[in-house]
């Protein structure tokens, strides 16, 4: 057995720190595989010649997350009631929006982020869509991801439509009147769809609560699920090379010695740092 140099104090301290950091990560990995999954997601291979254009999808995702977070905060102060406040004679919903803008600390900022971020989200989705189209990234085997992306775009527009009513001012009201009546002119089911959206024959309090529920529960839930699917397919199918790439699209680099297996099978589970040290000393412990 080789004689080992005794580790210095600094080395020991460093080792202890590493153990301290690694322990919770290893604990989690051992029980869930989450750390490996996140590492696989973040450190996967992408073509060498990817382009800044290919960050547009992540940008759109970030815009959506901003909408989700600011939306949650706004929901803490917004009141979706068309009733008239007897003290002021103004609708409660509209007053709560005024309160968010003028009364709540930094409310103007959060509402502004949500209001302008909505446009940013839609614009980024369109730019991302254009990039995918121009790069030909919608082609086999990624057609399904294009379809999911279109669904996300439609859902995003429905968010815009339902969110527009919530301030409950003249613009909101008449824009929604026109929007619902546009739906109402669709053949056959249009009148029924319009009446469902209004929650009756006329726009009123029920329309407001209905749009609020759609805006903050139903559609965001659908968008999150679709984004999950979208990302799953991105990871499974990989990122496309730009059209000017010298590498033929979809080709793997030179075959590695070990055949590539499905993720999760080849990657060793990271062992605790302490465990490997112990194993290196045969006979050190029974």
């Amino acid at each position: 057995m080789a004689v080992r140099r005794k580790p210095t104090k600094a080395e020991l301290r460093r080792q202890r720190m590493e153990e301290l950091v690694n322990f919770p990560l290893d604990w989690l990995e051992e029980r869930s595989g989450l750390i490996g999954g996140v590492r696989y997601f973040l450190f996967r291979n992408v073509p060498a010649d990817v382009n800044w254009m290919q960050t547009l999808g992540s940008a759109a995702l970030t815009a959506f997350l901003v909408q989700a977070i600011t939306g949650v905060i706004l929901a803490m102060y917004y009141v979706p009631s068309a009733a008239t406040d007897p003290a002021t004679g103004k609708p409660v919903a509209w007053e709560s929006i005024v309160n968010i803008s003028d009364g709540v600390f930094m409310g103007w900022l959060v509402r502004g982020m949500h209001r302008w971020g909505a446009s940013v989200f839609i614009i980024l989705m369109f730019l991302h869509m254009g990039r995918v189209f121009l790069f030909g990234a919608y082609k086999y085997p990624r057609e399904l991801n294009w379809i999911i992306g279109v669904l996300i775009l439609v859902m995003g527009m429905m968010e815009g439509f339902t969110g527009y009513l919530l301030p409950w001012d003249q613009t909101a009201y008449w824009a929604t009147v026109v929007g619902i009546n546009l739906n109402g002119t669709a053949p056959f089911l249009g009148p029924w769809l319009a009446q469902f959206l209004r929650g009756g024959q006329e726009i009123g309090g029920e329309t407001l609560t209905r749009f609020y529920s759609l805006h903050m529960l139903v559609i965001p839930g659908a968008i999150m699920a679709l984004i999950g699917l979208h990302l799953y397919l991105v990871i499974r199918l990989g990122v496309t090379s730009p059209p000017w790439s010298k590498d033929a699209a979809g080709m793997e680099p030179e075959q590695e010695e070990e055949p590539r297996l499905r993720p999760g099978l080849t990657r060793p589970v990271p062992r605790p740092a302490g465990a490997s040290a112990l194993q290196a000393e045969p006979g050190g412990r029974e």
Binding site: A82, V178, Q195
Partner: protein, 338 residues
């Protein structure tokens, strides 16, 4: 660290594992029923029904415990192996494989439902039933209220004497006081005097045009001056059962929509822009000398003016929907209106 080896203890356990399995028994089901009866009794009749449930639970609990501890108490276990009915080999059956003839496997009918398949089907089926039981009321709750009990609102616009002959007024009123300001509506009203029908019955005639644009529902405005200075008639505010009613005198040369530029003549006929038909009108009745607005109906076009006008009436349709011509076939079924 030694490589893991099965310790004597675990080996022993695995060898005798089968004997630790309790025999199938119905006692727990009876016990569960007893508990349910106790809980139901707590709601309905704590003294009587809960006591009955408690007795059931105790009796079955005792039997269950006795069964479960039989082995510990040294009583031999009688475990009946699961059996399937033997059937004579015949059509639809497979004979046991030749090399296993000696084992005498019973022939399994090809159509037999295996245990796992039955459980799979039962899980899916029960899951479907439960899903349906949850979905149907929830979906109904989400969809139906939009279409049910659309009650008609009557709006009292005040005594007939408020409306001078052949003068136009812009009336603004609250359709549903419960809904408040959001149900404020506007109509253009003209008193056409009395009209006598072919049988000689005289009845008052009013032209009451809704200001909802027949394009996409924006509020059309009267094209023309308002107020006493131009019309010679004062504007009036009344208070009726429906709350405040504003009557503003006006001299309309027609109506225009601010949203997309639809234009109408004073009778509500479309003369320009995207609307697909004439403006809707309100039905009305006269009750105790007061003008009462009823529900609206749609109008394809109006020929003539005032009391002599021929109105091409249709059931109320949403803005943008054709009521005549081939395009009406796109809207064969209208949702229930009042």
């Amino acid at each position: 660290m030694e490589p893991e080896q099965p310790s004597p203890d675990t080996e022993h356990e695995s060898l005798h594992e089968e004997q630790h399995l309790p025999p199938p028994t119905l006692w727990p089901i009876g016990f569960a029923i007893g508990i349910v009866v106790v809980l139901v009794g707590l709601v309905i009749n704590p003294e009587l029904i809960s006591s009955i449930g408690a007795v059931i639970a105790i009796v079955f609990g005792f039997l269950w415990a006795r069964d479960a501890t039989a082995e510990l108490r040294g009583q031999p276990l009688v475990v009946e192996p699961e059996r399937r009915e033997m059937r004579e080999a015949g059509e639809g059956m497979t004979a046991p494989p030749a090399d296993q003839q000696g084992v005498a496997l019973p022939p399994v009918p090809e159509t037999a439902v295996t245990r796992s398949r039955f459980l799979e089907g039962a899980t899916l089926g029960l899951g479907g039933v439960i899903g349906g039981l949850i979905t149907v009321p929830v979906a109904g709750f989400a969809l139906l209220p939009s279409f049910l009990s659309q009650k008609q609102h009557k709006v009292d616009l005040g005594p007939l004497s408020t409306f001078p002959l052949n003068k136009w007024y812009i009336a603004t009123f609250t359709v549903d006081p419960m809904q408040g300001e959001v149900s404020r509506r506007t109509a253009f009203i003209r008193n056409n005097g009395t009209v006598t029908d072919s049988k000689g019955n005289a009845s008052p005639s009013f032209t009451i045009i809704s200001n909802r644009c027949a394009h996409l529902g924006c509020p059309v405005q009267a094209n023309g001056p308002t107020g006493q200075k131009f019309t010679g008639n004062p504007s009036i505010t009344e208070h009726t059962d429906n709350g405040r009613v504003d009557l503003e005198s006006v001299l309309p040369a027609g109506y225009g929509c601010p949203c997309h530029g639809g234009q109408y003549d004073p009778e509500g006929n479309r003369i320009a822009g995207p609307p697909v038909r004439a403006l809707d009108r309100y039905a009305f009745e006269v009750d105790n000398g007061r003008l009462i607005l009823l529900s609206t109906y749609s109008v394809a076009k109006v020929v003539g003016t005032g009391a002599q006008a021929k109105i091409y009436k249709y059931k109320q349709a949403g803005p943008g929907q054709h009521v005549d011509g081939p395009e009406q076939w796109f809207y064969p079924l209208q949702p229930p209106h009042h």
